[in-house]
């Protein structure tokens, strides 16, 4: 995937985490995803977008303890389980803001006109997600509250 298209998402993660939850990204690393099946850390938020001939997806995959820390920091409350609706809603809102902010940058520089669909969140024991029809790149983020991964898929621009 073109670095020019990936960079807005990386920048957006940095900006959104810093501004909304006061979390600092310490480093990130990009790796291609070879397998179609991905073992999730436990909480996966999926946000789809499309515009013209392009479509794509941002998956935020977080360990439950990181998802909880983010929800606690965002809302100023103490949640103890990812089964709480507000925890999942926090992760959804975070993904929506990251994707929206990145797509705004792409739209303004390319004129593609990407639009977001409602994000959804999956949780489960031994959660695996799979997509055989599209290639993704994985971006691992290390932060001061733990690590998480973003999977980014853009179709029509490979």
């Amino acid at each position: 995937m073109d670095q020019e298209l990936m960079q807005p998402y990386i920048d957006s993660v940095n900006e959104v985490l810093q501004m909304m939850v006061g979390v600092k990204v310490l480093s990130h690393s990009v790796t291609p995803v070879e397998k179609s099946e991905i073992m999730s850390y436990g909480v996966a938020s999926i946000m789809t977008f499309s515009g013209g001939i392009f479509s794509g997806r941002v998956v935020l995959d977080l360990p439950p303890e990181v998802a909880l820390k983010i929800a606690n920091l965002l809302l100023g409350e103490q949640f103890s389980t990812t089964r709480e609706r507000m925890v999942l809603a926090s992760i959804s809102e975070l993904n929506n803001t990251i994707g929206g902010s990145a797509n705004t940058v792409i739209n303004n520089s390319t004129g593609i006109g990407l639009r977001l669909a409602p994000p959804y969140v999956l949780t489960g024991d031994k959660l695996v997600f799979a997509s055989t029809k599209a290639k993704s790149v994985g971006i691992m983020f290390k932060t001061n509250i733990g690590f998480f991964r973003m999977y980014l898929t853009l179709k029509g621009v490979d």
Binding site: E15, V16, M19, M20, L74, L75, G76, R85, M86, A89, S90, S92, E93, N96, T97, G99, G100, S101, N103, T104, N107, N108, G113, R115, L116, P118
Partner: protein, 119 residues
């Protein structure tokens, strides 16, 4: 000066965050709506000083809701707050009659500064 604020957004998180910020700054959240249609109804009933309005929502989107509110009250003060803030959406929002356009992410300063800009 304290303002009465209506929040129109389908995200419970945004309601929570805005309420926390606004109340800490001495403003009153007089109503919460989950979509544009509810927002239009509550605007008519509550006559708030300011509306915080999302764009993408079920049943009626924010642009449509702004147009409807503006048609009934040309002096309505509406702050649009959205994750998608590209030029096309900003143009649509301005044409609909949005007073201030804010892009997410946001913090307390961004929200309170936007309110301060309103007459």
């Amino acid at each position: 000066m304290s303002k009465r604020v209506l929040i129109v957004d389908d995200s419970p998180i945004v309601h929570h965050l805005l309420r926390k910020t606004l109340e800490a700054a001495g403003h009153e959240v007089c109503g919460d709506a989950k979509n544009g249609r509810e927002g239009v109804d509550l605007y008519g009933k509550l006559k708030p000083d300011v509306v915080f309005m999302d764009v993408t929502m079920p049943l009626m989107d924010g642009i449509e809701a702004v147009k409807t509110i503006r048609a009934s009250d040309p002096a309505a003060q509406i702050i649009m707050l959205t994750a998608m803030g590209d030029e096309q959406i900003m143009t649509e929002a301005n044409q609909a009659g949005v007073t201030v356009f804010l892009k997410k992410p946001f913090d307390d300063y961004k929200i309170i500064s936007a309110l301060a800009k309103l007459v």
